[in-house]
C-alpha cells in the first residue's frame, strides 16, 4: 500500500475531488429521492480547510453546486450536519431562533479511544489488527439491535478513516426522531457505564433482557480468539488483577492461586468460570449474581457509544468518502455481509487511488487518443478503475434499498400530490448550476 504523505494532501485532494469523489451517488443519498422538498438544499455541510480553518453552514442548491464548491475549496475534511428550517448558508439572514435543525439521520460514533482501559495492544489513536475485533463486535451488536429490535431498515456503516466506525441510520421516520428518543436509543444500547472512578462498569440484573442475551451470544463467537488469545487479558499478574477487581473478594485468593499455576489466558479463564459458578451457587441473590462471567465479557467487549454525537440533531459527523487528513484513508462504507473481513489497513489511501488513476490514465491516453470522450463521462467512470470501486458498490447497494422505500413513500404521496411533485422536480432539474 502506498504510503501517505500529508504534505502532498492539497494536490491529492484536487485530483480526488475532480475525478474520483462519487458525487452522483452522494447526491442521490442526501436528496432522498426528492420526497421532501428542499431536503438537500437545507442540509448543512461544513468544511475543514488547511490549518484547521473550519467553515460551518455551507449548503448547496444541487449536485453541480456541491461539486463546484468542493473542487474550489478542496476541503481536508467534510462534515454533514442537520437539515434546517432554512438554507444554512443564509442562516444569518434569518431571525435568531427561527433557524432550527429539524431532521437528521440517527448517527453513532464508536471510537477506539473509549476502550483504552481494556485494550492491551495500543492506546489513544492507534489501532492494530488485535484490537480491531472490538469494532467488528460493535458493528454486529449495534446493527443487530437497530435492525431487529428497532426495526430500522437503512443503516450505513462507515469506517471513520482512522480509529473507529460511524453508523448512519437513514429511515425516513428515524430522521425525524427527537433528541430525547435518540438519547433513549443510545441508553438502550449502552451497558458499560462509569468513568475513571468506577472499576466495575457492567452490572447485570437478575433478568437478562433479550438485547443483552443476544449481544452476549455475539461476543461469545469472538471472545476466545480476541480476548484470550490476541489480547491475552489474563497474561500476567498485572493484567489479571484488573479482572479480579471485577469479582467478589471472597474468591480472590482461590483465583490467584489457580492463575499462578496455569500457563495461559485460556486455562485461567476456564478456572475463573469454574470458581465463579461455584460462588454463585453459594451466595444466592448476591449482588454479583449468576452472571459474573458475562459481566467481564461485556466490560471487555461490549460497544461503547458516545451519546453526545447521537443525541443532538445538529451534531456534525464526518461524511462518508471524506478523507482522513492524518492517515489519508478514505471514509469508506463497510459491507455488512463481510464485516469480519473488513480490514482498516487495506482501506485505500488517497495517495494510493490517485496513483492508480495516474497509471491508468497514462495507459489509456495512449490507447484511446482518438476517442473523444467528454470530461463528464470520464469522471463518472474514473473511480471504477481504482480500489475505491468496491466501496462505492457497497454504497450503491445501500442506495438501492433506500430507493425502494422512497418509491413507496412517493406512491403514497402521489395520490394527492402527484402534480406538485413532478413540477418541483422538473424545476429542480432544469435549474442551472
Amino acid at each position: 500500500m502506498e504510503t501517505f504523505d500529508p504534505t502532498e494532501l492539497p494536490e491529492l485532494l484536487k485530483l480526488y475531488y475532480r475525478r474520483l469523489f462519487p458525487y452522483s451517488q452522494y447526491y442521490r443519498w442526501l436528496n432522498y429521492g426528492g420526497v421532501i422538498k428542499n431536503y438537500f438544499q437545507h442540509r448543512e455541510f461544513s468544511f475543514t480547510l488547511k490549518d484547521d480553518i473550519y467553515i460551518r453552514y455551507q449548503s448547496f442548491n444541487n449536485q453541480s453546486d456541491l461539486e463546484k464548491e468542493m473542487q474550489k475549496m478542496n476541503p481536508y475534511k467534510i462534515d454533514i450536519g442537520a437539515v434546517y428550517s432554512h438554507r444554512p448558508n443564509q442562516h444569518n439572514t434569518v431571525k435568531l431562533g427561527a433557524f432550527q435543525a429539524q431532521e437528521k439521520e440517527l448517527v453513532f460514533d464508536i471510537d477506539m479511544t473509549d476502550y483504552d482501559d481494556v485494550r492491551r495492544c495500543c492506546s489513544s489513536a492507534d489501532i492494530c489488527p488485535k484490537c480491531w475485533t472490538l469494532m467488528t463486535m460493535a458493528i454486529r451488536i449495534i446493527d443487530r439491535a437497530l435492525k431487529e429490535d428497532f426495526g430500522f431498515k437503512h443503516r450505513l456503516w462507515v469506517y471513520s478513516g482512522r480509529r473507529g466506525v460511524h453508523c448512519w441510520v437513514c429511515d425516513e421516520s428515524v430522521r425525524k426522531l427527537s433528541s430525547a428518543v435518540r438519547s433513549g436509543i443510545v441508553e438502550y444500547l449502552s451497558l458499560v457505564k462509569g468513568g475513571q472512578d468506577v472499576k466495575k462498569k457492567v452490572h447485570l440484573s437478575e433478568k437478562i433482557h433479550p438485547f443483552i442475551r443476544k449481544s452476549i451470544n455475539i461476543i461469545k463467537k469472538y471472545f476466545e480468539e480476541y480476548a484470550l488469545v490476541n489480547q491475552d487479558i489474563l497474561e500476567n499478574k498485572e493484567s489479571w488483577d484488573k479482572i479480579l477487581a471485577l469479582v467478589p473478594e471472597t474468591i480472590h485468593d482461590e483465583l490467584q492461586q489457580s492463575f499462578q499455576k496455569s500457563h495461559n489466558s485460556l486455562q485461567r479463564w476456564e478456572h475463573l468460570k469454574k470458581v465463579a459458578s461455584k460462588c454463585q451457587n453459594n451466595i444466592k441473590n448476591d449482588k454479583y449474581g449468576p452472571w459474573l462471567e458475562w459481566e467481564i465479557m461485556l466490560q471487555y467487549c461490549f460497544p461503547r457509544l458516545d451519546i453526545n454525537v447521537s443525541k443532538g440533531i445538529n451534531h456534525l459527523l464526518k461524511s462518508p468518502f471524506s478523507v482522513h487528513p492524518k492517515t489519508g484513508r478514505i471514509s469508506v462504507p463497510i459491507d455488512l455481509q463481510k464485516v469480519d473481513q473488513f480490514d482498516p489497513f487495506t482501506v485505500p489511501t488517497i495517495s494510493f487511488i490517485c496513483r492508480e488513476l495516474d497509471a491508468i490514465s497514462t495507459n489509456e491516453e495512449e490507447k484511446e487518443e482518438n476517442e473523444a470522450e467528454s470530461d463528464v463521462k470520464h469522471r463518472t467512470r474514473d473511480y471504477k478503475k481504482t480500489s475505491l470501486a468496491p466501496y462505492v458498490k457497497v454504497f450503491e447497494h445501500f442506495l438501492e434499498n433506500l430507493d425502494k422505500s422512497q418509491k413507496g413513500e412517493l406512491l403514497k404521496k402521489s395520490d394527492t400530490h402527484m402534480c406538485d411533485y413532478w413540477m418541483n422536480n422538473d424545476s429542480e432539474l432544469g435549474k442551472p448550476g
Binding site: D117, Y188, G195, Q196, I208
Partner: protein, 594 residues
Amino acid sequence: MEFSGRKWKTLRLAGDQRNASYPHCLQFYLQPPCENISLIEFENLAIDRVKLLKSVENLGVSYMKGTEQYQSKLESELRKLKFSYRENLEDEYEPRRRDHISHFILRLAYCQSEELRRWFIQQEMDLLRFRFSILPKDKIQDFLKDSQLQFEAISDEEKTLRDQEIIASSPSLSGLKLGFESIYKIPFADALDLFRGRKVYLEDGFAYVPLKDIVAIILNEFRAKLSKALAVGVQWHDLGSLQPLPPRFKRFSYLSLLSCWDYRCTPPHPGLLWYPGSLQSLVTLDFPVPGGINSEDCETAKVVACSFLWELRPRKLTARSLPAVQSDERLQPLLNHLSHSYTGQDYSTQGNVGKISLDQIDSLSTKSFPPCMRQLHKALRENHHLRHGGRMQYGLFLKGIGLTLEQALQFWKQEFIKGKMDPDKFDKGYSYNIRHSFGKEGKRTDYTPFSCLKIILSNPPSQGDYHGCPFRHSDPELLKQKLQSYKISPGGISQILDLVKGTHYQVACQKYFEMIHNVDDCGFSLNHPNQFFCESQRILNGGKDIKKEPIQPETPQPKPSVQKTKDASSALASLNSSLEMDMEGLEDYFSEDS
C-alpha cells in the same frame, strides 16, 4: 382536538355540570381554563402550586418514589394545599379547578428557559404518576378515553409467541407465564421511558408493554404535550418580535384595569385564557395565530398567550412588538419570582466578576470547592486536559465564582499548553467554546453554572471523563479513598458512604461540607456547586460575605409597604405593594425550605 363550546361559554358551573368539566381527579390539561379570576386568586393559586411542586421534588429526593411513605406524604401534602387527589371523593370540583388553573399559571412562569421547563415538567410528571397510581383500576380505561389515549391489546397468539421475551424484559412481571396480563403493542418511540432503561421488550420497532407499565406511556405522552406547549411559547416570542404588530392589536394601559387584567379575544380564535373579573374594563385583543387557524393552533395560541404575557424582560422587548408589556408589569415580577424560586438562584455571574485571581484557584480548590470541582481541577492540573463534559462543568463553575472571560481563556490556555498543545490549536479549537459559554458566540446564550441536579442526572461520565458528581458516579471504594485523601475522619467517611448508599448524594456532599468546615450544621440545603463555594467562603471569611448575594429578580417597583390591603377600591394603589408583599412571603417560604 375538539373544542366544545361549553368550555368557552360557561364561567362557573353548577351541580352536575361542574363535575362534568373535571371528570377525574387527574387531568391531562388539554384545555386551558377560561374563566374570570382575580389577581389575588391568581397569586394564591400560583404560590400553592409552587409549594406543591416543591414538595413533590423534596419527597422524591427523600423517599423512594412509589413507596408507601412517599405516597402517603404526597397525599397529605395535596390535601393540605387543597388540590385534588382521589377519584371517589364528593364534590371535588373546587380542588380540581384549582389544580387546573394553577397548572396553567405555572406554565407561564416556567416556560422561559430550558432548565425551568425541565424542572417543571419533571415535577408535574411525578405528580401525575402519583395520581395515576391511586386511580382505581376500573377508572383507568375511562381516564384514557377522556384523555384521548387508546391502546390495543395483542392477541393471545401473538402473546404466546413472545411470552419468554416479554417476561425477561419487563421488571414489573414475575413468574414464568404471562397468563391474563394484557400486552399492548406500541410504537417504540412512545415508550421512551421503558425502552431506554431496557424495561420492555422491543421487536421490529414496537414495544410490547404490559398493562402494569402503561403509566410510562401516559407520562411520555404527557411530557410530549407539555414540553411542546412550553416550547411553543418561547418560539412564538421570537416570531412575534420579527413581525410588526398587526393593526388589530390595541394597546392599553394597565392603569385603567384596576385589579383585573384583561385580554379578551374575539372569535374565531380566542386569544387568551384569563379574562378578568370585572367586565367594565375589557380590552379586545385578537391574537395572531402562527401558521394559520386550525383547532390545534387555537390551543397553542392560548398557551402562547401565556408566554406572551410573561415575556416582558426589558432587554428583549420593543414597545411596538409587545402590547402586553404594561399589563405585564403586574404579573411579571410574580411570575419571574415564581420561576426563580425553584432552586433559589441560578448562580450566574453578575456582581462577583473579577474578584478571583488565577493564582488563588489552587488553594481555593482544596478549601472551598465541592468534591466534583476539586476532582476536575486536580485532573486538569495533572493531565493538562479535560474532555468536553469536564470543561463545561468546571468552566461554568469557574465562571460562576467570578472568573472573567479573559481570565478563563488564560487559565485554560496555560494549562492546555503545558500538555504540549499548540497555542494556535487552542485558539482555534477551544477558545471558541469558552467564548461560547460566556455568551459571546453562536446563540449568545449566557450559560449558567450547572446545578447539582443537572450534574447528577444528566451526561454521566464515561471512560476518560472526570466530571459528574463523585458521590453519584464513583465506586464506594474509590470514593472512600478519595475522602481519606481529603483528610475526612473514618467516622465521617462511613456517614457519607451511608448517605450515598441511600442515594442522598447532595446530603452526602453537605456532610462533606460540614466536615471540612468543622461546623455541626451548615444551615442550608445544598443544591448547587457554586452554593457550596459561596457558603464556604462565607464561613472562611468569618461570616462576612465577600461574594455577591443571590441575585434578586429585577423588580421595577418601589420598595413594598408592609401592609397588605384587600380593599377593592384601593387595589390599584396597593397593587404593586401587595405583589411585593406576596413575593416576600414566597421568599420566606423558599429560604426556609431550600
